[in-house]
Amino acid sequence: MRPEAQVSRILFLAATVVGVLLTLAILWFMVRLGLPLFSTHSLRLLLTQDWAPDRGLYGIFPFICGSGAVVSLSLLLAFPLSLGNAVLIHLLAPRHLARILYQMVKMMTGVPTVIYGFVGIFLLVPLVREWFSRGSGMSVLSAGILLALLIAPTMILVFLESFAAVSTSHLRALEALGGTRRQKLVHVILPGARRGIITGFLLASGRAVGDTMIALMVAGNAVATPESILDPVRTLTAHIALVMAADFDSMEFKTIFACGITLYLWTAILTLSLRFLHFKATKTSMQVGHEQSF
């Protein structure tokens, strides 16, 4: 290899290594700065205690529950909604309507989350307050609905991609046998797209866990563990944003690193499950490679 070619190879490798080091540095920095916390508080206490700095309690349990509640609700709403829309676009809607719907979904993926939060405060929160005439309207419900709108487009697009990848030979066979569109969907498309459906679900849940602005703006940020979907909650992400204003050396401040580590690990587990899913997929597709080659 000419020296010049060698140089460009090394430069490209260097760029890659810098990226990898930065990814590891994020975790390292948080562990390093969060360490003083673990010397006085055991991990178990930190993860299970309430948050009440005035009584010396610095547990992040309520925020883990807060994130869990908001994310679960948003997935519960967005999953059927997305599946329905994907079926509509792929199978049921007339061609031009399906195309318009598809473009709208694509456009929705570009809407900034801070705008969902902003509109949510002035449109959805007052509605929730009136409907249930309880509390301020800032609640798990409001945040869950907005997050569902945020993540649904991602899910729909992944679902559609996996529907389109379903083996056409099976579809043709079913058509030849006189199968209806419902039979096509239930017996060929959905089973064939199972892995894509799980992928979309995991990707969307990662987005929901990591979102800060919607929860920060419309979930109410209360520090208690939520008991109903009308309760206000604080998520892990919102806690980090809110405590930033506090003094650097305080215990409160150090807990945000525990939140950061929890979020990092939570999303890492989702990423790893996606990897595992696709690793298994490539293995099986190698075994049944002859079918995939159509």
């Binding site: 990226g19 948080m30 900034p112 902003f118 509109v119």
Partner: protein, 292 residues
């Protein structure tokens, strides 16, 4: 029996479609009806004259100009920092990496893509504290925010560069090799120009990501009122943060109106970037079809 099932399926799919379209229409309608009346030149420049404001003669106090300029500066600096690394790593993964190192590196970049933006912001903040102990002039500022945003968009740039190169037809590589070009020359003169539109569409999407993100800059130097920053080490204003702040801190109807105006401007900015990326993507697809 199966009739009933058919009807239920139709009801479910059309119902879902209706809910999604309805929700989006209500969302857009509300934003437009509240935001459009606010869109005039005083939205950007406040009570300061347009010429004075653009020439930095006078400070804009109650307009969006400093926030808009802040966002544009952030985008520019974040791109300047992230593009060389994003392209470099993308090229390495697509053209040089062996099978196992490619799997390992992609896994790490997938992890990075999954890291919530607030955690990236926290990293940027920690880095500032760390640097501040050694160099006291470093505080949360434009430069730190831009670097943190660069880290946020890095995985997108890597992935889009890698994909753009990998989806090029194999005949291109074979032809270049047959003509006696070595790998570096092939990449520089054949593959990169062919993949340019795809790479560019990835960059445009990354710009959108950098423009809309609020969590990262919240922890690394954005403030409510700073004017147009005069150096990299100043704090700054930005559109998404302006919107967030307007929602919680507005004291009169006019300030709220400006919040809606800002939301609409950000939406239009992101919409334009999105359309640009889509057009570039379409160009790529057309060219790939032509090649086959």
């Amino acid at each position: 029996m199966s009739r009933v099932f058919d009807y239920l399926l139709y009801l479910f799919a059309w119902g879902s479609g209706l809910i999604l379209v309805g929700a989006f229409a209500v969302f857009m309608g509300f934003l437009l009806s509240q935001g459009l009346p606010a869109l005039d030149s005083s939205l950007l420049f406040g009570r300061t004259g347009m010429v004075d404001a653009l020439l930095l003669q006078r400070v804009v106090i109650d307009g969006l100009l400093p926030a808009l300029v802040g966002t544009l500066l952030l985008i520019f600096l974040a791109l300047a920092a992230a593009v060389p690394f994003g392209l470099g790593a993308g090229i390495y993964l697509a053209e040089y990496a062996g099978k196992s190192s490619k799997a390992l590196f992609s896994l790490v970049f997938d992890l990075l893509a999954g890291v919530p933006s607030i955690v990236i912001g926290l990293f940027g903040f920690s880095l500032t504290v760390f640097l501040h102990k050694r160099f006291t002039f470093i505080t949360p500022c434009l430069l730190i925010s831009a670097l943190a945003l660069a880290l946020l968009i890095l995985p997108y740039l890597i992935r889009s560069t890698q994909t753009a190169l990998e989806e090029l037809p194999a005949t291109l590589r074979l032809t270049a090799a047959a003509l006696g070009a070595d790998q570096a020359t092939t990449i520089r003169l054949v593959l990169l120009p062919q993949a340019a539109a795809g790479i560019l569409s990835g960059i445009v999407l990354a710009i959108g990501r950098a423009a809309e993100d609020t969590a990262v800059i919240m922890l690394t130097g954005v403030v409510v009122s700073a004017g147009i920053p005069r150096s990299l080490f100043n704090s700054f204003e930005a559109l998404p943060f302006y919107i967030y702040n307007a929602a919680s801190q507005f004291s009169n109807q006019q300030e709220l109106q400006r919040g809606f105006g800002a939301a609409l401007i950000l939406l239009i900015l992101c919409g334009l970037l999105f359309t640009l990326a889509w057009l570039l993507r379409k160009k790529v697809t057309a060219r790939l079809l032509y090649h086959h």
